[in-house]
Every structure is written in C-alpha cells, then in structure tokens.
C-alpha cells in the first residue's frame, strides 16, 4: 500500500478525545495526520462535505476463523469486511483451529497481518491451551510475540480458582484480559433468551442470570487481582447495573455490548419464525434489557459497542434451530446498528466504536497532529439497506432486510484508503 497525501475537505470532524466537533479539513501524509483545519499542502482532495470524519473503529474479539475455519472467514476477508464497516483495527479471537495459544501461533498471525490491505488485524492469545479452561497458556511469551490482549474467546472459564490465578499471572504483562461473562451450567441447553418469547415458542432459554452471575464473578475477580478485565459481550439490564456499581467502586473493568443487541430483541426469533441467524451467544434479550444497554452506552457505563463478528455459513446455519451454531456476522453492519440504536447520537457512536475499544488495548483513537491516520468517513444522512453480497464469507446476518442509518464512505488506515473510492 502506498500512502499518498490526502486532503479530506469540508467534513464534520468528530474527535471526542479532543472535544472537536466542527467542519474542517484534515490532511494526511506519510500515514499520519499532519494537520487539522489547514489546507496548505498539495495532495489528493477528497470531498467530505456532508460527511463525518472520525477516528477509525476498533473491534475486539472478532472470530476471523484463520487458521482452521477458512470456509467461514480468513484474515483477508475479515480484514476487508472490517474496512467496509469503518474498522481500522480488529482484535481477532483466539478461537481458531488450532487455537492461538502459543507464541509461535501469535507471531505467525502478526506477520501475516502486515500483508493485509483492509483493517489491521491485531492478535489476542488464548488464556488456556485449546481454550480448555484448565491449562494456563504461555501468556507472557504470547505478549512478547505481539499479542495485544489475552482472551478465552466466547468460552467462559468456569474454574474460578484457575481463573483467579490466570488473572494474577496475566496482570504483570500489562495487556487486558478479555472474557465473555457467563455460566455454562446455567446456560445449559438454552438456545435463546429465557422469557416470554421462549415460553411461547417452545425453545429452551438462557436466563439473564447466567450472564449476570458471570459478570459478578469477573468483577469480584478483577477487584481481587487488580487485573484489567474487558467483558466482551454484555447484554442484560442486570449486567449494566453491576458494571455501573463496579466502576463507581474503582474496579478496572470495561465492557462491550454487541451492536445488534441495541436494535434487536428476542422477538426477532419469533418474528423470523425460528430463523437460525437469530441464534446468538449471548442471545438477543428482552426489550427492557435492550433499553438498559442503550442507556448504558450513552452514559458511558458500557464503554464499547462490538461487532460481535462470528461469520458462519449454511453448513452451520441451515439446520434445526437448536443445532445451529450460535453467532452472527457484524463487522459490516455494526456502525449502522449502533447509530440506529443510539438514536443518531454521533458522538456516542464514535466514542463506543473508536475511542473506547482502542483505549481497552492501550491505543489512542484521536484526530490530532502526528496521530496515526486511522480514519473513517461516513455519511449519517444516508440510509443503507442491509443485503449481500458481503465482504465477509459469512451468510448469517440477522439484520438482513433492514434499512439502517449511516453509510461508510471511506476508511483510511495508516494513511491509505482501505475502503472507498480509490480514485475520483
């Protein structure tokens, strides 16, 4: 990729970290932002009038399936799907085959990620080998090899003693530990949120309590060990409430809600007549949970919105509801879903997709002189109709058919246009 001098002209520049929200030009050179507001430089002019120019989005925990699940996704398709969704960085989940649980596996992904022409892929290493929840992996060596976080993916570590030791062990390496709060025993054989809808349509439920017990465990263990924890998918009102209290107590936790959970509820399972694209983990929750999550993101208790990207194909989804693999793709729709969910609140959207997730992995997502030129340009006034083809290999998009606000116009990473018009 060749970085050229770009002049993003006349866009509404939104940078929550610097309290910027005004129309001005942004000049990008040699992969970095060189100036805001000045147009002295020569370069390729990109008309951004009517659009928002903001720091590029970061996603934490996308399942890119590479290696081992290449029919679902690989680094290239995942990276390009991310770029199309406005993401400049994606932290991949270690849920691959084999699992990313050794320094060699981390190093291999890190080196391959240099060749990508879409979003940057950052690597998280598994906490336990094979994600078995029992045997501690070489956490420090993986961090030395370039892992930006440690995670057991979607697997919930049920062995509390080991989890405590893992957090104590991980803390000195300085990277966040990413875990999905849950209780596999209580999740049981549930396939959707337990409530009115599951009772009506005869599907076994996963109670909100399964997640909330997980949240309580993780908060208590973060307080005990001092380890920085990121709760990768929280979806219930009770979780929001606990996280609010934990933050007030100074516990070092951050949390993300999946974007689609801001605009979908368990009614979708019924309305779609058992469409397996609605089978998710965590599941789509009730309306009151949805509203609590929206409020949590708006007031900052929930730091991040995540694409919660789990691309799957007909192999995993064209089966009976209870046998379908849970998950949905999300990189290409997360932005519009967030904007819809937050009622068009641009500042909160940028904060939840750019600033907060970057901060979780120790990066600063800001538009300022000498910052890495990771930018997204989007038009909030245009609606998109969610329909394929997608850049992701997944086919499981539960938002398919919906019309959502906001269109990604251009994504720029390290000063290169990774999505959008290559030439005027």
């Amino acid at each position: 990729m060749q970085a050229e001098t770009l002049i993003l002209r006349g866009g509404r520049v939104v940078c929550p970290l610097n309290n910027i929200d005004e129309v001005m030009d942004v000049v990008v050179q040699n992969g970095r932002v060189v100036s805001l507001g000045s147009t002295a430089e020569e370069g390729r002019v990109i008309d951004c009038s009517g659009c928002v120019v903001a720091p590029g989005f970061t996603d934490i925990g996308a399942e890119l399936g590479d290696p081992g699940y290449l029919w679902r996704e690989d680094l290239i398709s995942g990276s390009e799907a991310g770029a199309a969704g406005g993401f400049t960085s994606i932290v991949s989940s270690p849920k691959t085959d084999p699992v990313v649980d050794t320094p060699v596996a981390v190093a291999e992904l890190v080196s391959r990620s240099f060749e990508l022409s879409g979003a940057r892929v950052l690597v998280s290493g598994a906490i336990t080998t094979g994600l078995d929840g029992e045997h501690l992996a070489e956490l420090g060596l993986m961090v030395e090899s370039g892992a930006v976080a440690l995670s057991d993916g979607r697997t919930t570590m049920m062995h509390t003693g080991l989890l405590r030791r893992a957090l104590d062990y991980a803390r000195p390496f300085g990277v966040p530990v990413i875990l999905r709060p849950g209780d596999t025993e209580l999740e049981g054989s549930g396939v959707m949120h337990e409530g009115e809808v599951s009772t009506q349509i005869g599907l076994r439920g996963i109670p909100a309590a399964a997640e909330e017990i997980g949240v309580a465990r993780l908060i208590a263990l973060s307080a005990l060990t001092g380890c920085r924890l990121h709760l990768s998918q929280i979806t219930t009102a009770g979780s929001v409430k606990q996280i609010r209290a934990a933050k007030e107590d100074g516990v070092r936790v951050t949390a993300a809600v999946p974007a689609r959970h801001l605009i979908m509820t368990d009614r979708a399972v019924d309305q779609s007549v058992y469409d397996t694209s609605t089978r998710l983990l965590p599941p789509l929750r009730s309306e009151s949970d949805r509203l609590a999550c929206v409020a949590g993101v708006k007031d900052g208790v929930i730091d991040c919105v995540t694409a919660d990207h789990v691309p799957l194909t007909r192999i995993e989804k064209e089966v009976e509801y209870m046998y379908a693999t849970p998950g949905a793709m999300g990189l290409e729709t997360a932005f519009s879903a967030t904007l819809e969910g937050l009622g068009g609140d641009l500042i909160s959207t940028v904060r939840a997709l750019s600033v907060a997730p970057a901060n979780v992995i120790g990066k600063r997502a800001a538009l300022e002189a000498d910052a890495a030129a990771d930018l997204v340009v989007f038009d909030p006034s245009v609606s998109i109709s969610v329909e394929g083809p997608f850049r992701s290999r997944g086919l499981n998009e539960p938002l398919k058919g919906r019309v959502l606000p906001g269109k990604i116009v251009m994504t720029i990473r390290d000063g290169c246009i990774i999505y959008g018009p290559k030439r005027d």
Binding site: E194, E196, T199, I201, G202, Y274, V319, E320, Y321, M322
Partner: protein
C-alpha cells in the same frame, strides 16, 4: 380453512379450530363403517417423517391418510439417512424430489416443521416439535372435550404435570384459550415455572387446588427419559403431590373428564383405577385422533376438489 401448513395452534383462529372440529365430527363416521375408506385424497401422497419415537400419533396419522385413500409412506429416525449424517434440509430436498403432497413431521428440535414449511411447497403438519407444539393432539383433546361439554367457552381445564416441557400442553393452552376456556396448570416448580403465566394460564402448585373447579383434568406423562437432573426428586414424591388417585378425584365435580395424552405411567401420574374410571375418556381421545387427523389432511390438502363433503357424509 385457507392455509398450507399446520405448525401449531398459536396462530390458529377460533373459526379455524371450529371448522377443524366440525369437519372431524363428520369424518368420525368413516371409521365406524365396515369399509373404512373414502376416496377423498385418492392419488395424493402423504409422508410421515418421525425423527422421534411415536406409536399413537404415527399410527393415527397413517390410518387417517389411508382412510382418505391417500398413498402413505413413512420413515423414522432409525431408518433414515440422518443417521448417516444427512441434514434435515437435505433429507427434505430428497423427499421433495419425489413430489409429496404433505409431510407429517415429528422432531426433537422446536421449529423444524417451520423450517420445512418455509422452504417447500407441500403441506407440513407438525406432529410434535421439541417442547413447542403438538397441534393435532390438542385438537383431538378439544374435540373430546366438546363432545362432552358442548362448548369450551367459559370452561375450566386443569393441566397437571410437566407443563413447561410439554408440547401437548402448549398446544392445548393456545387452542383452549382461543376457544374461550380458562386453563389452570399445576406441577412442581421446575415444571410449572412462573413464566407459564406468559401463556395466559393460571399457575398453581398443588393438584388439590386445581381439581375442585375443573371441568376437565388433563394429566401429563412424566417423561422420565427426558428429565434433566434436578427436575424432580422421586416418583414417590411426585405422585404424592401431583398424582391423581380416587381420593383426589372425589374432590372434583362428579362429571369431570379425566384425560391423558398417553402413554400412561400407571401409578405415577394416575392410579390404574383412575385411568379406567367412568370419568376417564382416554380411549375416546385416541378414537377422535383419527377423525381430527382426517379433517386436517382434508382441509390442508384441499380435498373439496374431489367432492370431499359428500365423501365424508
């Protein structure tokens, strides 16, 4: 009735249920003749596709189709290609290639009949999907109740046992409430959780509370083979709190109807003397099952094209 499939009673109207029951009443006489066959569905192909064990329902559907002169073929889990790893959709595509008119499916996964109904042109009849619905059973139950009670409007139906995990109960609850009946359920806390109230029923926890006011007592089978650990303690304790014996039956109105979808665990949910008592209409349910299923096949497959009305009379 203008619908391709019967997937459950949740979205079936009062008028449609009445039409099904009225049609079933007319078909009942066919089974009482010496030659138990009418030509209504001659040349139509009905497939029974049972991915879970069944005796009553499969035989009843098979007999219903045969008495309407349809060609029937059936296959079950043990004989099907799913054992060799074929997906349900692929199996269905193969059945589809043989041009059936209707498929009667039983499957352990809720929503499976709906998946086939969305994807294929033929009629799908749900013969039980997971813990969701078993509409033909509820319809035969309602026909049996109507025979004795006249109308279902304002009647009180008690359902006792593992209501939450019962597709028979769920279909009955939908159908009965649509018909204006009041449904009261009783069972252990694990089997009648408070969320049952979402279905528009009253939840109680002792059988004595529900027996006294009931016009009908429907006892459900304890599906011992499916119970998760902790769902109940012992059969002894279950029978003590939720079993129906003659002593408890005395608390009920003398003309109460005792029903059970079968197969009965004698001595668990009811004592043998209750199962065989005057109030028991369990075998009438089975007889009505054939008539109801004839009516469903006739209404869904459009038997009127061959003059089914006269055939049925």
């Amino acid at each position: 009735m203008n619908r391709k499939d019967l997937l459950g009673l949740r979205d079936v109207s009062r008028e449609e249920i009445t039409e099904i029951l009225d049609t079933a009443e007319r078909f009942r006489s066919v089974s009482e003749r010496r030659i138990k066959k009418v030509p209504t569905l001659r040349g139509r192909t009905v497939v029974t596709f049972f991915m879970e064990n069944s005796t009553r329902t499969r035989l009843s559907f098979d007999l219903a189709a045969k008495r309407l002169s349809a060609d029937t073929l059936g296959f079950s889990a043990s004989s099907s290609a799913t054992k060799k790893g074929e997906t349900l959709m692929d199996t269905a595509r193969n059945i589809d290639a043989m041009k059936p008119d209707a498929i009667i499916i039983r499957h352990s996964a809720a929503g499976s009949p709906h998946m086939l109904a969305k994807a294929f042109p033929w009629s799908v009849l749900n013969a039980g999907d997971g813990i969701n619905e078993h509409p033909s059973q509820a319809l035969l139950d309602m026909l049996t109740m109507r025979d004795h009670l006249g109308s279902l409007e304002g009647k009180t139906i008690a359902i006792v046992g593992d209501v939450y995990h019962s597709r028979v109960a769920r279909s009955n609850i939908y159908g009965l409430t649509t018909m204006g009946a009041k449904v009261v359920v009783a069972g252990p806390g694990t089997m009648c959780p408070p969320s049952m109230a979402h279905l528009g029923v009253e939840v109680r926890h002792t059988i004595d509370e529900v027996v006294a006011d009931a016009d009908v007592i429907m006892m459900l089978r304890i599906q011992r083979e499916r119970l998760q650990p902790g769902m109940m303690s012992t059969v002894n304790e279950y029978s003590h709190f939720y079993g129906l014996d003659l002593e408890r039956l005395k608390l009920a109105r003398p003309d109460v109807l005792v029903m059970h979808p079968g197969p009965i665990n004698r001595g668990v949910e009811m004592t043998p003397d209750v199962a065989d008592s005057e109030q028991s209409v369990i075998l009438e349910q089975v007889t009505n099952g054939v008539a109801v299923r004839m009516a469903l096949l006739y209404l869904l497959l459009g038997g009127e094209q061959t003059g089914g009305e006269e055939d049925a009379s």
